[in-house]
Protein backbone atom coordinates (compact mmCIF):
# COMPACT_ATOMS: atom_id res chain seq x y z
CA UNK A 1 0.00 0.00 0.00
CA UNK A 2 2.74 2.40 0.98
CA UNK A 3 4.61 1.49 -2.16
CA UNK A 4 1.59 2.24 -4.31
CA UNK A 5 0.85 5.67 -2.82
CA UNK A 6 4.47 6.83 -2.99
CA UNK A 7 4.54 5.60 -6.57
CA UNK A 8 1.76 8.03 -7.39
CA UNK A 9 3.16 10.78 -5.17
CA UNK A 10 6.11 11.04 -7.49
CA UNK A 11 3.92 12.81 -10.05
CA UNK A 12 3.67 15.72 -7.62
CA UNK A 13 7.18 16.64 -8.75
CA UNK A 14 5.87 17.42 -12.19
CA UNK A 15 2.47 18.87 -11.36
CA UNK A 16 3.21 22.45 -10.19
CA UNK A 17 5.44 23.28 -13.15
CA UNK A 18 2.91 21.76 -15.51
CA UNK A 19 0.02 23.75 -14.01
CA UNK A 20 1.78 27.12 -14.28
CA UNK A 21 3.12 26.33 -17.71
CA UNK A 22 -0.15 25.12 -19.20
CA UNK A 23 -2.37 27.65 -17.43
CA UNK A 24 -0.41 30.80 -18.09
CA UNK A 25 1.68 30.04 -21.12
CA UNK A 26 0.21 27.35 -23.35
CA UNK A 27 -3.43 28.29 -22.80
CA UNK A 28 -2.99 32.02 -23.56
CA UNK A 29 -0.85 31.24 -26.60
CA UNK A 30 -3.50 28.80 -27.79
CA UNK A 31 -6.14 31.50 -27.32
CA UNK A 32 -4.02 33.95 -29.29
CA UNK A 33 -3.89 31.43 -32.14
CA UNK A 34 -7.65 30.93 -32.09
CA UNK A 35 -8.40 34.65 -31.85
CA UNK A 36 -6.71 35.26 -35.18
CA UNK A 37 -9.51 33.39 -36.96
CA UNK A 38 -12.31 35.55 -35.53
CA UNK A 39 -13.60 39.03 -36.25
CA UNK A 40 -13.30 41.54 -33.44
CA UNK A 41 -15.26 44.57 -32.29
CA UNK A 42 -13.08 46.19 -29.67
CA UNK A 43 -12.56 43.59 -26.94
CA UNK A 44 -15.49 41.44 -28.09
CA UNK A 45 -14.94 38.36 -30.19
CA UNK A 46 -17.32 38.09 -33.16
CA UNK A 47 -17.75 35.45 -35.86
CA UNK A 48 -15.33 32.89 -37.17
CA UNK A 49 -13.94 34.39 -40.38
CA UNK A 50 -11.23 31.93 -41.38
CA UNK A 51 -8.06 33.51 -42.64
CA UNK A 52 -9.53 36.93 -43.40
CA UNK A 53 -7.36 38.64 -40.79
CA UNK A 54 -4.25 37.17 -42.38
CA UNK A 55 -5.36 38.11 -45.88
CA UNK A 56 -5.93 41.71 -44.78
CA UNK A 57 -2.59 41.87 -42.99
CA UNK A 58 -0.71 40.68 -46.07
CA UNK A 59 -2.64 42.41 -48.86
CA UNK A 60 -4.41 45.50 -47.55
CA UNK A 61 -2.75 48.90 -47.37
CA UNK A 62 -1.36 50.21 -45.10
CA UNK A 63 -0.93 46.95 -43.17
CA UNK A 64 0.94 45.24 -45.98
CA UNK A 65 3.60 47.97 -46.24
CA UNK A 66 4.03 48.25 -42.48
CA UNK A 67 4.35 44.50 -42.15
CA UNK A 68 6.98 44.10 -44.87
CA UNK A 69 9.06 47.00 -43.66
CA UNK A 70 8.97 45.83 -40.04
CA UNK A 71 9.82 42.25 -41.04
CA UNK A 72 12.86 43.44 -42.99
CA UNK A 73 14.05 45.37 -39.95
CA UNK A 74 13.78 42.24 -37.79
CA UNK A 75 15.85 40.32 -40.32
CA UNK A 76 18.47 43.10 -40.32
CA UNK A 77 18.64 43.02 -36.55
CA UNK A 78 19.35 39.29 -36.63
CA UNK A 79 21.97 39.61 -39.37
CA UNK A 80 23.87 42.35 -37.54
CA UNK A 81 23.62 40.67 -34.14
CA UNK A 82 25.07 37.37 -35.35
CA UNK A 83 28.61 38.74 -35.83
CA UNK A 84 28.37 40.73 -32.60
CA UNK A 85 26.91 38.08 -30.34
CA UNK A 86 28.40 34.96 -31.91
CA UNK A 87 31.71 35.81 -33.56
CA UNK A 88 32.93 38.62 -31.32
CA UNK A 89 31.63 37.00 -28.15
CA UNK A 90 33.13 33.61 -29.06
CA UNK A 91 36.49 35.20 -29.82
CA UNK A 92 36.42 37.00 -26.49
CA UNK A 93 35.49 33.77 -24.72
CA UNK A 94 38.47 32.03 -26.36
CA UNK A 95 40.74 34.84 -25.19
CA UNK A 96 39.44 34.66 -21.64
CA UNK A 97 39.72 30.88 -21.69
CA UNK A 98 43.39 31.03 -22.72
CA UNK A 99 46.36 31.58 -20.42
CA UNK A 100 45.56 34.96 -18.96
CA UNK A 101 45.44 37.02 -15.81
CA UNK A 102 42.24 38.75 -14.72
CA UNK A 103 39.73 36.26 -16.18
CA UNK A 104 37.24 37.00 -13.44
CA UNK A 105 37.60 40.73 -14.00
CA UNK A 106 36.84 40.53 -17.72
CA UNK A 107 33.89 38.20 -17.20
CA UNK A 108 32.44 40.53 -14.60
CA UNK A 109 32.94 43.64 -16.67
CA UNK A 110 31.56 42.23 -19.92
CA UNK A 111 28.48 41.01 -18.16
CA UNK A 112 27.80 44.33 -16.46
CA UNK A 113 25.65 45.96 -19.21
CA UNK A 114 23.28 42.99 -19.14
CA UNK A 115 22.40 43.95 -15.57
CA UNK A 116 20.73 47.15 -16.68
CA UNK A 117 17.08 47.17 -17.60
CA UNK A 118 16.49 47.51 -21.32
CA UNK A 119 14.52 50.64 -20.62
CA UNK A 120 17.47 52.09 -18.68
CA UNK A 121 19.79 51.22 -21.56
CA UNK A 122 17.41 52.77 -24.05
CA UNK A 123 17.05 56.00 -22.10
CA UNK A 124 20.75 56.17 -21.25
CA UNK A 125 21.78 55.87 -24.89
CA UNK A 126 19.14 58.28 -26.10
CA UNK A 127 20.82 60.80 -23.79
CA UNK A 128 24.33 59.81 -24.94
CA UNK A 129 23.31 59.98 -28.60
CA UNK A 130 21.41 63.25 -28.24
CA UNK A 131 22.48 65.43 -31.19
CA UNK A 132 23.20 68.63 -29.25
CA UNK A 133 24.11 67.74 -25.68
CA UNK A 134 24.93 64.06 -26.05
CA UNK A 135 28.31 62.63 -25.05
CA UNK A 136 29.03 60.91 -28.36
CA UNK A 137 28.75 63.94 -30.61
CA UNK A 138 30.60 66.05 -28.05
CA UNK A 139 33.43 63.52 -28.02
CA UNK A 140 33.55 63.39 -31.83
CA UNK A 141 33.76 67.17 -32.01
CA UNK A 142 36.44 67.24 -29.32
CA UNK A 143 38.74 64.96 -31.34
CA UNK A 144 38.15 66.85 -34.58
CA UNK A 145 35.70 64.41 -36.15
CA UNK A 146 32.75 66.77 -36.15
CA UNK A 147 31.92 65.64 -39.69
CA UNK A 148 30.92 62.29 -38.19
CA UNK A 149 28.64 63.85 -35.59
CA UNK A 150 25.01 63.40 -36.52
CA UNK A 151 21.58 62.93 -34.98
CA UNK A 152 22.16 59.19 -34.69
CA UNK A 153 18.65 58.30 -33.60
CA UNK A 154 16.90 61.04 -35.54
CA UNK A 155 18.36 60.12 -38.91
CA UNK A 156 16.54 57.26 -40.67
CA UNK A 157 19.88 56.10 -42.13
CA UNK A 158 21.58 55.54 -38.79
CA UNK A 159 18.74 54.99 -36.32
CA UNK A 160 18.28 51.25 -36.81
CA UNK A 161 21.99 50.42 -36.80
CA UNK A 162 22.46 52.51 -33.67
CA UNK A 163 19.69 50.65 -31.89
CA UNK A 164 21.06 47.25 -32.97
CA UNK A 165 24.58 48.05 -31.79
CA UNK A 166 23.23 49.21 -28.45
CA UNK A 167 21.43 45.89 -28.17
CA UNK A 168 24.71 44.14 -28.98
CA UNK A 169 26.45 46.22 -26.33
CA UNK A 170 23.97 45.02 -23.73
CA UNK A 171 24.02 41.37 -24.77
CA UNK A 172 27.53 40.32 -25.78
CA UNK A 173 28.75 39.70 -22.23
CA UNK A 174 26.07 37.12 -21.62
CA UNK A 175 27.09 35.37 -24.83
CA UNK A 176 30.73 35.35 -23.66
CA UNK A 177 29.69 33.64 -20.44
CA UNK A 178 27.62 31.02 -22.25
CA UNK A 179 30.53 30.25 -24.57
CA UNK A 180 32.94 30.05 -21.65
CA UNK A 181 30.76 27.45 -19.99
CA UNK A 182 30.90 25.45 -23.21
CA UNK A 183 34.65 25.87 -23.59
CA UNK A 184 35.34 24.90 -20.02
CA UNK A 185 33.32 21.74 -20.35
CA UNK A 186 35.74 20.44 -23.00
CA UNK A 187 38.03 18.08 -21.16
CA UNK A 188 41.75 18.65 -21.15
CA UNK A 189 42.34 15.05 -22.23
CA UNK A 190 40.99 15.81 -25.66
CA UNK A 191 43.55 18.56 -26.09
CA UNK A 192 46.27 16.28 -24.76
CA UNK A 193 45.27 13.64 -27.26
CA UNK A 194 45.18 16.20 -30.05
CA UNK A 195 48.62 17.45 -29.12
CA UNK A 196 49.99 13.94 -29.33
CA UNK A 197 48.62 13.97 -32.87
CA UNK A 198 50.50 17.25 -33.33
CA UNK A 199 47.42 19.36 -33.89
CA UNK A 200 48.07 23.03 -33.17
CA UNK A 201 46.68 26.55 -33.44
CA UNK A 202 43.92 26.95 -35.97
CA UNK A 203 43.61 23.22 -36.63
CA UNK A 204 43.00 22.72 -32.95
CA UNK A 205 40.48 25.56 -32.95
CA UNK A 206 38.41 24.47 -35.94
CA UNK A 207 38.83 20.72 -35.57
CA UNK A 208 38.34 20.42 -31.82
CA UNK A 209 37.28 23.56 -30.00
CA UNK A 210 34.56 24.89 -32.32
CA UNK A 211 32.89 21.50 -33.00
CA UNK A 212 32.84 20.74 -29.29
CA UNK A 213 31.32 24.17 -28.61
CA UNK A 214 28.42 23.52 -30.99
CA UNK A 215 25.85 23.08 -28.21
CA UNK A 216 26.58 26.54 -26.81
CA UNK A 217 26.80 28.00 -30.32
CA UNK A 218 23.39 26.47 -31.03
CA UNK A 219 21.90 27.97 -27.90
CA UNK A 220 23.27 31.42 -28.71
CA UNK A 221 22.04 31.31 -32.32
CA UNK A 222 18.55 30.43 -31.18
CA UNK A 223 18.53 33.06 -28.46
CA UNK A 224 19.80 35.69 -30.90
CA UNK A 225 17.13 34.84 -33.43
CA UNK A 226 14.40 34.93 -30.82
CA UNK A 227 15.59 38.24 -29.38
CA UNK A 228 15.86 39.73 -32.88
CA UNK A 229 12.27 38.86 -33.67
CA UNK A 230 11.02 39.80 -30.21
CA UNK A 231 12.77 43.21 -30.30
CA UNK A 232 10.43 45.62 -28.63
CA UNK A 233 11.51 47.23 -25.38
CA UNK A 234 14.69 48.94 -26.54
CA UNK A 235 13.05 50.46 -29.58
CA UNK A 236 9.97 51.38 -27.57
CA UNK A 237 12.17 53.26 -25.10
CA UNK A 238 14.36 54.96 -27.69
CA UNK A 239 12.19 55.50 -30.75
CA UNK A 240 8.63 55.35 -29.48
CA UNK A 241 5.75 53.05 -30.38
CA UNK A 242 5.94 53.80 -34.11
CA UNK A 243 9.65 53.05 -34.46
CA UNK A 244 10.72 56.51 -35.51
CA UNK A 245 11.95 58.40 -37.35
CA UNK A 246 9.50 57.67 -40.17
CA UNK A 247 9.15 54.00 -39.16
CA UNK A 248 12.85 53.46 -39.87
CA UNK A 249 13.21 51.35 -36.71
CA UNK A 250 9.75 49.81 -36.77
CA UNK A 251 9.68 46.09 -36.01
CA UNK A 252 6.93 43.47 -35.97
CA UNK A 253 6.52 43.49 -32.20
CA UNK A 254 5.96 47.26 -32.21
CA UNK A 255 3.39 46.92 -34.99
CA UNK A 256 1.77 44.19 -32.94
CA UNK A 257 1.71 46.47 -29.89
CA UNK A 258 0.13 49.28 -31.90
CA UNK A 259 -2.57 46.93 -33.14
CA UNK A 260 -3.30 45.52 -29.70
CA UNK A 261 -3.01 48.59 -27.50
CA UNK A 262 -2.60 51.56 -29.79
CA UNK A 263 -4.37 53.29 -32.59
CA UNK A 264 -3.37 51.22 -35.63
CA UNK A 265 -6.14 49.30 -37.34
CA UNK A 266 -9.22 50.81 -35.73
CA UNK A 267 -11.97 48.83 -33.99
CA UNK A 268 -11.16 45.42 -35.43
CA UNK A 269 -7.45 45.62 -34.70
CA UNK A 270 -7.34 42.72 -32.22
CA UNK A 271 -8.04 40.29 -35.05
CA UNK A 272 -5.21 41.77 -37.11
CA UNK A 273 -2.94 41.84 -34.07
CA UNK A 274 -3.69 38.19 -33.32
CA UNK A 275 -2.93 37.29 -36.92
CA UNK A 276 0.39 39.11 -36.65
CA UNK A 277 1.08 37.25 -33.40
CA UNK A 278 0.56 33.96 -35.21
CA UNK A 279 2.95 35.01 -37.99
CA UNK A 280 5.60 35.97 -35.45
CA UNK A 281 5.00 32.75 -33.57
CA UNK A 282 5.50 30.68 -36.71
CA UNK A 283 8.64 32.63 -37.66
CA UNK A 284 10.24 32.25 -34.26
CA UNK A 285 9.13 28.70 -33.54
CA UNK A 286 9.81 27.53 -37.08
CA UNK A 287 13.31 28.92 -37.28
CA UNK A 288 14.10 27.69 -33.81
CA UNK A 289 12.91 24.20 -34.61
CA UNK A 290 14.89 24.11 -37.86
CA UNK A 291 18.10 25.28 -36.23
CA UNK A 292 17.67 22.80 -33.38
CA UNK A 293 17.23 20.04 -35.92
CA UNK A 294 20.25 21.09 -37.99
CA UNK A 295 22.56 21.47 -35.02
CA UNK A 296 21.40 18.24 -33.50
CA UNK A 297 22.55 16.31 -36.54
CA UNK A 298 25.98 17.89 -36.36
CA UNK A 299 26.40 17.45 -32.65
CA UNK A 300 29.60 15.73 -31.75
CA UNK A 301 29.90 12.82 -29.39
CA UNK A 302 32.95 12.62 -27.27
Amino acid sequence: MRGLSSKHMIHLFLLPALVFYVGFMIYPIGSALLNSFYSWKGLLRGDFIGIDNFVRLFTESPYKETFNRALWHNVLIFLVLIPVKLVVAYALALLINSKLKGKEFFKTVFFLPKLLSVIVIGYLFSLILNPTYGALNTALKAVGLSSLARPWLGDPDTALLSVILIDGWAEFGFAVLIFLVGLQSISGEIYDAAKIDRAEGLTLLFRITVPLSLPSIMIMTILTFISAFESFELIYAMQGTSGGPYYSTDVLALFFYRLMFGTAGGGDSIGLGSALAVVLLLLISGATAISMFLFRRKEVDY
Binding site: F20, K107, V118
Partner: protein
Amino acid sequence: MKLKQLAKYVVLGLFTFLSLYPIFLMFMSSFKTRKEITSSPLALPKSFKFDNFVDVWHKVNFSEYLLNSIIVSVASVLVILLISSMAAFYLARFKFRWNGAVLFFFMLGLMLPMKLAISPLYMQMMKLHMLDSLQGLIVVYVAGHISFAVFLFYGFFSTLPKDLDQSARIDGCNNFQVYYKIVVPLMRPAMATVAITDLIKVWNDFFYPLIFIKTTEKGTIPLGMLSLFGEFDTQWNLLFSGLTLSSLPMIIAFLFASRQFIEGLTAGAVKS
Protein backbone atom coordinates in the same frame (compact mmCIF):
# COMPACT_ATOMS: atom_id res chain seq x y z
CA MET B 1 54.81 35.06 -27.51
CA LYS B 2 54.86 38.14 -25.30
CA LEU B 3 53.45 40.18 -28.15
CA LYS B 4 50.59 37.71 -28.43
CA GLN B 5 49.82 38.12 -24.74
CA LEU B 6 49.93 41.89 -25.12
CA ALA B 7 47.52 41.80 -28.07
CA LYS B 8 45.08 39.76 -25.98
CA TYR B 9 45.09 42.39 -23.25
CA VAL B 10 44.67 45.21 -25.76
CA VAL B 11 41.57 43.56 -27.28
CA LEU B 12 40.08 42.72 -23.90
CA GLY B 13 40.94 46.22 -22.64
CA LEU B 14 39.12 47.79 -25.55
CA PHE B 15 35.99 45.81 -24.83
CA THR B 16 36.33 46.61 -21.14
CA PHE B 17 36.28 50.30 -22.02
CA LEU B 18 33.29 49.82 -24.33
CA SER B 19 31.36 48.00 -21.63
CA LEU B 20 32.16 50.32 -18.78
CA TYR B 21 32.26 53.79 -20.25
CA PRO B 22 28.52 54.32 -20.81
CA ILE B 23 27.81 53.10 -17.28
CA PHE B 24 30.61 55.28 -15.90
CA LEU B 25 29.16 58.25 -17.77
CA MET B 26 25.74 57.54 -16.29
CA PHE B 27 27.16 57.47 -12.75
CA MET B 28 29.21 60.64 -13.23
CA SER B 29 26.38 62.57 -14.88
CA SER B 30 24.07 61.82 -12.00
CA PHE B 31 26.26 63.98 -9.72
CA LYS B 32 26.28 66.93 -12.08
CA THR B 33 23.99 69.90 -12.13
CA ARG B 34 21.59 70.34 -14.99
CA LYS B 35 23.83 73.00 -16.49
CA GLU B 36 27.03 71.00 -16.16
CA ILE B 37 25.57 68.08 -18.12
CA THR B 38 24.63 70.15 -21.12
CA SER B 39 27.67 72.44 -21.15
CA SER B 40 30.31 69.72 -20.62
CA PRO B 41 28.84 66.23 -21.03
CA LEU B 42 32.20 64.43 -20.82
CA ALA B 43 33.78 66.27 -17.91
CA LEU B 44 33.79 64.87 -14.40
CA PRO B 45 31.35 66.47 -11.96
CA LYS B 46 32.63 69.53 -10.12
CA SER B 47 31.45 68.15 -6.81
CA PHE B 48 29.94 64.89 -5.62
CA LYS B 49 26.64 65.87 -4.08
CA PHE B 50 23.68 63.58 -3.65
CA ASP B 51 21.05 66.26 -4.28
CA ASN B 52 19.87 64.71 -7.53
CA PHE B 53 19.34 61.30 -5.93
CA VAL B 54 17.35 62.76 -3.05
CA ASP B 55 15.29 64.73 -5.54
CA VAL B 56 14.48 61.72 -7.70
CA TRP B 57 13.79 59.50 -4.70
CA HIS B 58 11.02 61.83 -3.57
CA LYS B 59 9.70 62.95 -6.92
CA VAL B 60 8.88 59.50 -8.29
CA ASN B 61 8.22 57.56 -5.03
CA PHE B 62 11.27 55.46 -5.64
CA SER B 63 11.02 53.50 -2.38
CA GLU B 64 7.68 52.04 -3.46
CA TYR B 65 9.01 50.97 -6.83
CA LEU B 66 12.04 49.43 -5.12
CA LEU B 67 9.95 47.41 -2.69
CA ASN B 68 7.63 46.15 -5.44
CA SER B 69 10.57 45.12 -7.59
CA ILE B 70 12.10 43.20 -4.70
CA ILE B 71 8.85 41.36 -3.88
CA VAL B 72 8.15 40.40 -7.47
CA SER B 73 11.70 39.27 -8.28
CA VAL B 74 12.35 37.27 -5.14
CA ALA B 75 8.99 35.51 -5.19
CA SER B 76 9.21 34.68 -8.90
CA VAL B 77 12.74 33.30 -8.71
CA LEU B 78 12.03 31.12 -5.66
CA VAL B 79 8.94 29.58 -7.26
CA ILE B 80 10.75 29.01 -10.56
CA LEU B 81 13.68 27.27 -8.86
CA LEU B 82 11.49 25.03 -6.78
CA ILE B 83 8.99 23.83 -9.35
CA SER B 84 11.38 23.61 -12.29
CA SER B 85 14.02 21.62 -10.42
CA MET B 86 11.31 19.23 -9.27
CA ALA B 87 10.03 18.81 -12.80
CA ALA B 88 13.53 18.29 -14.20
CA PHE B 89 14.25 15.70 -11.50
CA TYR B 90 11.08 13.88 -12.48
CA LEU B 91 11.91 14.00 -16.17
CA ALA B 92 15.58 13.06 -15.87
CA ARG B 93 15.48 10.40 -13.19
CA PHE B 94 12.24 8.53 -13.77
CA LYS B 95 11.43 6.59 -16.88
CA PHE B 96 7.74 7.06 -17.45
CA ARG B 97 6.81 6.49 -21.04
CA TRP B 98 5.45 10.05 -21.46
CA ASN B 99 8.61 11.73 -20.17
CA GLY B 100 10.04 12.35 -23.61
CA ALA B 101 6.82 13.98 -24.73
CA VAL B 102 6.55 16.09 -21.56
CA LEU B 103 10.12 17.29 -21.94
CA PHE B 104 9.41 18.21 -25.54
CA PHE B 105 6.25 19.99 -24.42
CA PHE B 106 8.29 22.09 -21.97
CA MET B 107 10.91 22.76 -24.63
CA LEU B 108 8.21 24.18 -26.87
CA GLY B 109 8.10 27.07 -24.43
CA LEU B 110 11.64 28.04 -25.44
CA MET B 111 10.35 28.79 -28.91
CA LEU B 112 7.01 30.28 -27.94
CA PRO B 113 7.24 34.01 -27.39
CA MET B 114 4.87 34.53 -24.50
CA LYS B 115 4.56 38.25 -25.09
CA LEU B 116 2.55 37.50 -28.22
CA ALA B 117 -0.17 36.08 -25.99
CA ILE B 118 -0.45 39.38 -24.17
CA SER B 119 -4.06 40.09 -25.04
CA PRO B 120 -5.46 36.68 -23.96
CA LEU B 121 -3.24 36.94 -20.86
CA TYR B 122 -4.66 40.37 -20.13
CA MET B 123 -8.23 39.06 -20.31
CA GLN B 124 -7.33 35.99 -18.26
CA MET B 125 -5.77 38.18 -15.54
CA MET B 126 -8.85 40.38 -15.59
CA LYS B 127 -11.09 37.34 -14.96
CA LEU B 128 -8.83 36.12 -12.14
CA HIS B 129 -8.74 39.61 -10.59
CA MET B 130 -4.97 39.63 -10.87
CA LEU B 131 -4.72 42.67 -13.10
CA ASP B 132 -2.92 45.58 -11.49
CA SER B 133 -1.43 43.32 -8.82
CA LEU B 134 2.02 42.00 -7.97
CA GLN B 135 0.71 38.41 -7.86
CA GLY B 136 -0.34 38.73 -11.48
CA LEU B 137 3.20 39.70 -12.45
CA ILE B 138 4.70 36.85 -10.41
CA VAL B 139 2.42 34.27 -12.04
CA VAL B 140 3.34 35.49 -15.52
CA TYR B 141 7.06 35.47 -14.80
CA VAL B 142 6.96 31.98 -13.33
CA ALA B 143 5.01 30.60 -16.28
CA GLY B 144 7.31 32.29 -18.75
CA HIS B 145 10.56 31.06 -17.23
CA ILE B 146 9.72 27.42 -16.52
CA SER B 147 10.86 26.18 -19.92
CA PHE B 148 14.30 27.72 -19.64
CA ALA B 149 14.79 26.45 -16.10
CA VAL B 150 13.63 22.92 -16.90
CA PHE B 151 15.82 22.90 -20.01
CA LEU B 152 18.87 23.95 -18.01
CA PHE B 153 18.21 21.66 -15.06
CA TYR B 154 17.50 18.69 -17.30
CA GLY B 155 20.78 19.29 -19.11
CA PHE B 156 22.52 19.53 -15.77
CA PHE B 157 21.14 16.14 -14.71
CA SER B 158 22.73 14.46 -17.68
CA THR B 159 26.13 15.58 -16.34
CA LEU B 160 25.37 14.19 -12.87
CA PRO B 161 26.18 10.56 -12.26
CA LYS B 162 23.19 8.52 -11.15
CA ASP B 163 25.27 6.55 -8.66
CA LEU B 164 24.69 9.12 -5.96
CA ASP B 165 20.91 9.06 -5.92
CA GLN B 166 20.89 5.30 -6.43
CA SER B 167 23.12 4.72 -3.45
CA ALA B 168 20.92 7.07 -1.42
CA ARG B 169 17.93 4.95 -2.39
CA ILE B 170 19.74 1.83 -1.27
CA ASP B 171 20.29 3.63 2.03
CA GLY B 172 16.52 3.91 2.36
CA CYS B 173 15.82 7.44 1.13
CA ASN B 174 12.50 7.95 -0.61
CA ASN B 175 12.15 10.14 -3.68
CA PHE B 176 11.50 13.34 -1.77
CA GLN B 177 14.51 12.75 0.44
CA VAL B 178 16.66 12.01 -2.58
CA TYR B 179 15.45 15.26 -4.09
CA TYR B 180 16.22 17.61 -1.23
CA LYS B 181 19.15 15.79 0.36
CA ILE B 182 21.07 14.72 -2.74
CA VAL B 183 19.78 16.48 -5.80
CA VAL B 184 19.26 20.03 -4.57
CA PRO B 185 22.74 20.41 -3.04
CA LEU B 186 24.34 19.02 -6.19
CA MET B 187 22.25 21.31 -8.34
CA ARG B 188 23.42 24.50 -6.68
CA PRO B 189 25.58 25.65 -9.60
CA ALA B 190 22.71 25.16 -12.06
CA MET B 191 20.32 26.80 -9.63
CA ALA B 192 22.62 29.79 -9.28
CA THR B 193 22.64 30.15 -13.05
CA VAL B 194 18.87 29.99 -13.33
CA ALA B 195 18.35 32.24 -10.30
CA ILE B 196 20.63 34.95 -11.57
CA THR B 197 19.41 34.82 -15.17
CA ASP B 198 15.78 34.96 -14.09
CA LEU B 199 16.40 37.55 -11.39
CA ILE B 200 17.92 39.88 -13.95
CA LYS B 201 15.10 39.28 -16.42
CA VAL B 202 12.32 39.78 -13.90
CA TRP B 203 13.94 42.74 -12.18
CA ASN B 204 14.52 44.54 -15.45
CA ASP B 205 11.33 43.65 -17.29
CA PHE B 206 9.03 46.47 -18.09
CA PHE B 207 6.75 44.92 -20.69
CA TYR B 208 4.37 43.17 -18.30
CA PRO B 209 4.22 46.02 -15.76
CA LEU B 210 3.57 48.36 -18.68
CA ILE B 211 0.53 46.33 -19.70
CA PHE B 212 -0.75 44.99 -16.37
CA ILE B 213 -0.04 47.68 -13.79
CA LYS B 214 -2.23 50.75 -13.73
CA THR B 215 -1.72 52.12 -10.21
CA THR B 216 1.55 53.97 -9.58
CA GLU B 217 1.94 52.40 -6.13
CA LYS B 218 2.10 48.95 -7.70
CA GLY B 219 4.71 49.76 -10.32
CA THR B 220 8.18 48.25 -10.46
CA ILE B 221 11.38 50.23 -11.02
CA PRO B 222 11.40 50.06 -14.85
CA LEU B 223 7.88 51.44 -14.85
CA GLY B 224 9.13 54.21 -12.57
CA MET B 225 11.69 55.14 -15.24
CA LEU B 226 8.89 55.47 -17.73
CA SER B 227 7.09 58.03 -15.61
CA LEU B 228 10.37 59.78 -14.73
CA PHE B 229 11.22 60.29 -18.39
CA GLY B 230 7.67 61.29 -19.16
CA GLU B 231 7.56 63.95 -16.48
CA PHE B 232 11.05 65.41 -16.24
CA ASP B 233 12.35 64.92 -19.76
CA THR B 234 14.34 68.16 -19.82
CA GLN B 235 15.99 67.80 -16.41
CA TRP B 236 18.87 65.59 -17.41
CA ASN B 237 20.43 65.63 -13.96
CA LEU B 238 17.31 63.93 -12.60
CA LEU B 239 17.14 61.52 -15.52
CA PHE B 240 20.73 60.35 -15.10
CA SER B 241 20.44 59.98 -11.35
CA GLY B 242 17.16 58.09 -11.78
CA LEU B 243 18.84 55.69 -14.19
CA THR B 244 21.77 55.24 -11.80
CA LEU B 245 19.47 54.67 -8.86
CA SER B 246 17.48 52.05 -10.70
CA SER B 247 20.60 50.18 -11.84
CA LEU B 248 22.44 50.25 -8.52
CA PRO B 249 20.61 47.42 -6.73
CA MET B 250 21.39 44.94 -9.50
CA ILE B 251 24.98 46.09 -9.92
CA ILE B 252 25.66 45.95 -6.19
CA ALA B 253 24.03 42.54 -5.88
CA PHE B 254 26.08 41.30 -8.79
CA LEU B 255 29.38 42.64 -7.45
CA PHE B 256 28.71 40.80 -4.19
CA ALA B 257 27.53 37.58 -5.81
CA SER B 258 29.47 37.66 -9.07
CA ARG B 259 32.12 35.34 -7.75
CA GLN B 260 29.60 32.77 -6.65
CA PHE B 261 27.77 33.22 -9.92
CA ILE B 262 30.85 32.75 -12.07
CA GLU B 263 31.96 29.83 -9.92
CA GLY B 264 28.50 28.37 -10.24
CA LEU B 265 28.76 28.58 -13.99
CA THR B 266 32.27 27.27 -14.33
CA ALA B 267 32.88 24.68 -11.68
CA GLY B 268 30.79 21.56 -12.20
CA ALA B 269 29.75 20.08 -8.87
CA VAL B 270 30.65 16.51 -9.73
CA LYS B 271 33.05 15.55 -12.44
CA SER B 272 32.27 12.08 -13.65
